[in-house]
Subunit: 271 residues, 2 copies
């Protein structure tokens, strides 16, 4: 992990890095170690990049004392595009212009991206575990990613025992059903009822296939990009209920380890 | 409205009444007027009765300074059963014993109950509006009822402009789709993924048919009677976000009108 820059604002440190050719960014409280701190993995949506969730990452670091990490997905952000990525960018424009349904096509392409992204995420977790020395790795890990972030996050959570809770949604495809059955951690699943990029039926089937004993589906009206702000806040509370907070947050409310989010394994309503 | 008894415990008054032959119960802060106070209508499930939500009613009165009212649905609680009600009780036992699917049959029977219950609820609201004199009726009204409580609540909310927000769920039937389209207030809809008494497809269709601009579906694994406690707590926060609280609650937290629930029309994540 090669760190390329570090900036700090309002008590939150933002460190860019490149890891085996994958550009990423790590946020944590300025001047404070990573060891034992809850860590949230932020998976971005299709067409976006590692800084798309910067505001949320900074807020979670400041409020809860978490660390957060984001990577550019294959073919996204600062990464080079393969010929396959270029074809995708061209074809999706053509399909949209022709008014043709694209959900199955998007699902197939993003599944191919996920096969490349899952080992990248796992390798970054390995490195973060060792970054500050043996036994000083991050604490409980959560995953938060919708759309492409879910297509990558479901096989990742199925393979990666360090992930303790996950927020998924805005996605669904037959190829995700098998890995979904191997996800066993608590999940909050976000669905947009009128999603034009992900079929409602496929998203419901994906929720149904999750192997988790605790899994909650939250659906709201509107299209793929219209997830209500209160729903994003609810998913933040959900992760808080499972990851807890540390005393290292920079706001007053984050300094109480006995706060409502301090109890691991609490239901989403408890936070 | 003929009050038949009044008891008080922990600052919460519980007053039984009979209104046009319908037994009911009214909760509010002891010694405190109804005028202007948020009021929640509690619709019970099939086979239950007006006191089934007593714990929740008492908690909401104590925490938020609300009033709450519950009625025995037709054929339930202290009410006489018609020949039709008796047939229902016999037949549902036979169908269950035979292991036959009963969701469509339950939906038909409960729809018949709703036709009788809706005017009863509206008449009780009229009386409560006038109980303490002109202009001294309850404040914003919310509705909270699952299963049979939803079968009654949807046509009630469609017809009754005093209802400002509603919690529904665990129900679905073609006969509810038309009134659901006339519901326009914010709704939180609770669904159990493995509901043995209400078909998943019918419940999803009912959520989809609601005319509300703001409507959120919350689904969890498990059967009809296994709604997680965190989900019930979430629906309480949802109503709080829309009804607000008063300074007349009996707990310390309820005395702050600037508390997080004090803002009407906030999203469910805001409370």
């Amino acid at each position: 992990m090669h760190f390329t820059s570090e900036t700090s604002a309002d008590g939150v440190s933002e460190r860019r890095f490149v890891h085996d050719g994958v550009p990423g960014v790590l946020w944590h409280p300025a001047g404070s170690a990573l060891g034992g701190r809850p860590l949230v993995l932020l998976g971005h949506g299709g067409g976006q990049h590692k800084l798309g969730s910067r505001d949320r990452a900074q807020a979670c670091v400041a409020r809860y004392g978490w660390a957060a990490v984001a990577l550019d997905a294959p073919g996204h952000g600062e990464r080079e595009r393969t010929a396959q990525d270029e074809r995708f960018a061209t074809e999706i424009g053509e399909l949209l212009a022709a008014g043709r349904p694209i959900s199955a096509w998007v699902a197939r392409h993003t599944a191919a991206l996920a096969e490349r992204a899952v080992p990248e995420w796992r390798a970054v977790l390995d490195t973060l575990d060792a970054l500050e020395g043996p036994g000083r790795g991050p604490g409980p890990v959560g995953y938060w990613g919708l759309s492409l972030g879910t297509v990558i996050g479901i096989p990742l959570a199925a393979a990666e025992p360090r992930i303790r809770a996950a927020v998924f949604g805005l996605a669904g495809h037959a190829s995700l059903l098998e890995p979904a059955g191997r996800v066993t951690v608590p999940v909050e699943f976000v669905l947009q009822w009128d999603d034009e990029l992900s079929s409602r039926e496929a998203a419901l089937a994906l929720y149904g296939a999750l192997g988790s004993r605790q899994k909650t589906l939250h659906a709201n009206p509107g299209g793929h990009r219209a997830v209500p702000e209160f729903e994003l806040a609810a998913s933040e509370r959900f992760l808080l209920g499972h990851l807890g907070r540390t005393a290292a947050g920079t706001e007053a409310g984050a300094t109480s380890p006995a706060g409502p989010g301090a109890t691991p394994h609490a239901g989403p309503g408890a936070a």
